[in-house]
């Protein structure tokens, strides 16, 4: 598995909010070790009568040894929350928050330059590792099954769809990572693929891309060097140019943003590209059986 494991200790930034409370409880139910929360002004209290709340991430880390953070604060405070986590020395930051202004993202991306911190998201479902029973995210846990397939995706519910197809085919997952639908996500396909390639628990990877940007092409350049099979789907083949399709990053501007170009790049890099989103699970089953991966 990658990024998280059974030693991951999570601090929840903005834990006292409604959405944060709901999802944090789901994470704990699944097995995630949530060791701390942070809500300025509520330091010293206990969240849900179980988890200590701190004034700052630095304090939370010092007192509880948190190793990962999940951010639920509103968009206008989210960039500050990311940098606060980085400054506190948290190596993995999962930012669920949607609608972060691009100018803010430019700033924290620059801030991350030269650090070893991984930011997953913003505008993402997070990370789940079924073998570790560790979930740092908002995905429905029930559809997942422990196994050896890595999943990396720019979407939320489309990832759930793919995972459900995999599970129904009997294909379990090592780790599923939703990197988010923003134009400047904290991490990208290539970096996650690199981790899957190096991970002994992962035998093959499903990549779920979409229109906009050129991240799939950059991933393709890395896929060429990978030893593990990659099965890819790119959403938005039927989307018109110049219109934003829900995700801030999903907009075709120029050639490279089109699904066709992305699929071609992935295919020529050696990935198995699936055109029909209903057949991702079945294709995975066929490919993996033939390569004796599972």
């Amino acid at each position: 598995m990658i990024l998280v494991d059974d030693r991951t200790r999570v601090v929840v930034q903005g834990i006292t909010g409604n959405e944060a409370t709901f999802h944090t409880l789901r994470c704990i139910e699944y097995g995630t070790e949530v060791v701390a929360g942070v809500t300025p002004g509520k330091g010293g209290s206990l969240w849900e009568e179980r988890t200590p709340v701190f004034e700052s991430v630095e304090e939370a880390k010092r007192e509880t040894g948190a190793t990962a953070s999940i951010i639920f604060v509103p968009a206008q405070f989210a960039s500050d929350a990311i940098i606060e986590a980085v400054d506190a020395g948290i190596p993995l930051v999962v930012c669920i928050t949607e609608f972060i202004p691009t100018m803010d993202a430019i700033t924290w991306h620059r801030y991350l330059q030269g650090t070893d911190v991984t930011v997953i998201g913003p505008n993402c479902p997070g990370i789940i590792s079924p073998p570790a029973r560790c979930k740092v995210g908002i995905m429905p846990a029930a559809i997942h099954m422990p196994g050896n397939i890595g999943v990396v995706s720019r979407s939320g519910t489309l990832t759930y769809e793919v995972v459900a197809q995999l599970t129904s085919e009997g294909i379990g997952q090592s780790t599923c990572v939703g990197i988010g639908g923003d134009p400047l996500p904290g991490t990208d396909f290539a970096r996650i693929l690199r981790r899957f390639e190096a991970d002994d628990d992962t035998h093959a990877v499903i990549l779920v891309g979409e229109i906009g940007g050129s991240m799939e092409q950059e991933a393709a350049a890395y896929i060429e060097t990978m030893s593990k099979p990659v099965i890819a789907f790119v959403a938005g083949a039927s989307a018109p140019a110049g219109r934003r399709m829900g995700h801030a990053g999903a907009i075709i501007e120029g050639q490279s943003g089109r699904a066709r170009e992305k699929m071609a790049a992935l295919e020529s890099a050696g990935a198995v590209v699936v055109e029909n989103p209903a057949e991702i699970g079945a294709t995975a089953n066929r490919v993996l059986s033939s390569r004796e991966v599972c």
Partner: protein, 395 residues
């Protein structure tokens, strides 16, 4: 959010960037008066939020104020169809009446956020006046791009690189550096997603002037840009898109007949893709979003039903946070209220899906339930073929 040309030029002007003198007019009389300020010749530019106005007849050179008044009368109140506006075109409610500027040379200057570099990038070319995509195709070597570090802003040495790309030296290079610094400041301070000055013209007597300007603002930042947000012109949006925007949905009107209601942008695109792959045509992209509740689902269903192009509705929900039974409840309520005539394909998966299916199984016959994505897609496409004919015959 896109700004009209006249709004973009006002903002540029606030930042000290030279633009042609001009006035805005909403009717013939105002146009006549504005053209009289100019005296003789002037340029009329239809203010619509679309490119390709020139070829579509939306930019008119006139020789005298009276001619300008008549040209304005022809444009105002009508729709202008351009290569980028869609078949209905966009309504012209305002025209910009500007002085005629005689350019020595036409340059291109653009700023955008480049996802792979995660920076604001300046694009400059001495070949202005043509579309940048086209230029990138025909003369890629004649576009110079410079990424700006947010720590430093545009550096003097970078401004020199850009000035050289624009073929400017001496005083014009100094002026271009000033303009570029101002543009960068504008981009950051107003949370832009795009600024395009095409053409930036070199004039003999007045140096550089921004002859045309496109400015787009990052929608996610509008909360902190109240002055910009107030410039929004909803007349330029499709009525269904307006309604969706007010309800908080991501919605894009398309030209097919299968209305799709989905939660999540990726799944919504995949749903459209599947429909298309199976030979159908989606009527829209619609992502109800992660925070949807019963009311919002109802509003979304009604939006589909109110679209006269929709011949089949396909509800495709993967329940995570959003519970399937909430969707079922919303749907049953709408069915009860409106008794829609079109077939509705429902595919619910995830949280509480069994409960939802039980609820719908005891509901009206117009709902076709299917849990597997591919089969649900085939149902929707098949139904659109049937009903398309049936309704077409009936109308």
């Amino acid at each position: 959010m896109k700004l009209h040309e006249y709004q973009a030029k006002q903002v540029l002007s606030q930042y000290g960037i030279p633009v042609p003198e001009g006035h805005i007019a909403a009717n013939q009389q105002e146009a006549l008066e504005a053209a009289r300020i100019r005296g003789g010749k002037s340029i009329l530019k239809a203010q619509i939020l679309s490119g390709g106005r020139g070829k579509a007849g939306g930019i008119i050179a006139t020789d005298c104020p009276e001619e300008a008044g008549h040209a304005a009368a022809r444009l105002l109140g009508n729709s202008l169809v351009t290569g980028q506006s869609g078949p209905q075109g966009l309504p012209v409610n305002l025209v910009l009446i500007e002085e005629q500027v005689i350019p020595d040379r036409e340059l291109y200057l653009g700023l955008l956020v480049e996802p792979s570099r995660k920076r604001i990038v300046f694009m400059a070319s001495a070949r202005g006046g043509m579309d940048i995509e086209e230029l990138a195709g025909t003369h890629p070597d004649e576009i110079v791009s410079v990424a700006v570090d947010p720590l430093t802003g545009l550096l003097p040495y970078q401004a020199r690189v850009l000035a050289r790309a624009l073929g400017l030296s001496g005083q014009l290079a100094v002026q271009s550096a000033r303009i570029m610094r101002a543009l960068y400041r504008l981009f950051v301070e107003k949370d832009c997603s795009l600024i395009e000055i095409n053409p930036m013209v070199v004039t003999e007597d007045r140096g550089l002037i921004a002859l045309d300007a496109k400015v787009s603002i990052d929608d996610n930042a509008l909360y902190r840009q109240p002055e910009i947000a107030a410039l929004a012109d909803i007349s330029q949006e499709d009525p269904l898109e307006q309604r969706a925007a007010q309800a908080g949905f991501s919605y894009v009107k398309l030209d097919g007949s299968i209305g799709c209601l989905v939660n999540g942008a990726g799944l919504a695109m995949a749903t459209m893709d599947l429909v298309t792959l199976l030979g159908g045509r989606p009527a829209n992209f619609l992502d109800v979003g992660g925070a949807a509740d019963e009311l919002r689902i109802r509003q979304a269903i009604e939006l589909l039903l109110d679209d006269r192009d929709v011949k089949v509705a396909w509800i495709n929900i993967f329940g995570g946070i959003l519970r399937c039974d909430v969707v079922a409840k919303a749907l049953l309520r709408v069915l009860e209220d409106r008794h829609p005539a079109i077939p509705i394909v429902v595919r619910l998966q995830g949280t509480n899906d069994a409960k939802a299916r039980d609820m719908l199984n005891s509901g009206p016959m117009t709902v076709m339930l299917e849990t597997e994505l591919g089969r649900a897609g085939r149902l929707a496409v098949a139904a659109s073929g049937m009903t398309g004919k049936k309704r077409g015959a009936a109308s």
